[in-house]
Symmetry: C2
């Protein structure tokens, strides 16, 4: 099974919620780990740790790693790097997804911001530059659509092991199972 | 052609960037308008106006409208309301998408937060409660995946009319066309 990790570059402390959402998206949509590169932010680490503790599944979290180091290590272990950018090949109009899948290799998805270093586009860093549409929007949304397409939707039915909380999907209201007890609202 | 608008409930001023990303996602992934309900935030209005002015397309922006009023108006005009929530029917494992499409009606997508009023789940408000997976993640990501699936990817190849800036997708580097002149970097 393909292993996918997400590297987030360009985190700003005043945008903690946004980076938290990127990390939660990575986890919920099938990635196995998250790297907050170059900076450390305890609040984000705690937020993600809390979610993983409650909602289950194995999800690694690293922070403070220089992005170059993380990319180098990933490639050394045989993985490829996909840089999500509005400037890249359009995920809908090009065959880039097929080419990524055809490599059969683990994927490090790099998400940045408008101000990523030009190096991100170079062959030394990115194997693919992929655009979830060529309009400006959000690294969070780009990541979500990319993962949903990469895993062909299968990620949304994955069971998270050792969950202490689990939602039972329903037409109306909320149904949550906690450990062995069932609780329901609405 | 199906018309889709997005209503964002529960905006907090300290999370401006997140709400901006939700609005930009709505625009980039094919919605025709955005409603920031119940509150006003000039910064978000300006940010979205700037993007629409530069990158083109028709995209309406409203703010301060009470959510109940917006929902009522939408329904009066024959549209349906889809509430995105981790508690709803799983977009992958249920047939909810087909049922939404089968209505053939315009869609108001309501995105909130963990603390939405219970009323959102009621028949008076939501015609469908849809979960982009039943794990906690992000309203931004949920919206992106929902729109991508609703429009079956077609939204990502849409031309935005009267754009002053346009990206030419490419394998490496950045290529941008401004009005009638071509500029390239990398």
């Amino acid at each position: 099974m393909l292993k996918v990790a997400v590297l987030r570059w360009g985190h700003r402390y005043r945008d903690q919620r946004l980076t938290t959402h990127v990390a939660l998206t990575a986890r919920a949509l099938g990635a196995s780990g998250f790297i907050l590169s170059d900076v450390e932010d305890e609040k984000i680490k705690q937020a993600i740790g809390k979610v993983t503790g409650q909602w289950g599944g194995a999800f690694s979290f690293q922070m403070g790693v220089p992005w170059k180091h993380a990319v180098k290590e990933w490639k050394k272990r045989g993985g490829i790097v996909v840089h999500l950018t509005a400037y890249g090949e359009n995920i809908q109009t090009s065959a880039v997804m097929n080419r990524i899948r055809a490599t059969g290799r683990d994927v490090l998805v790099v998400v940045g911001s408008q101000k990523v270093p030009n190096e991100f586009f170079s062959e030394e860093v990115s194997d693919f530059n992929v655009a979830v549409g060529n309009q400006p929007h959000s690294e969070c949304s780009s990541l979500a659509v990319f993962l949903d397409r990469l895993f062909e939707g299968q990620e949304l039915q994955k069971e998270f092991e050792e969950a202490r909380v689990r939602i039972v999907p329903r037409v109306r209201g909320k149904k949550v199972i906690k450990s062995s007890s069932v609780q329901s609202r609405n």
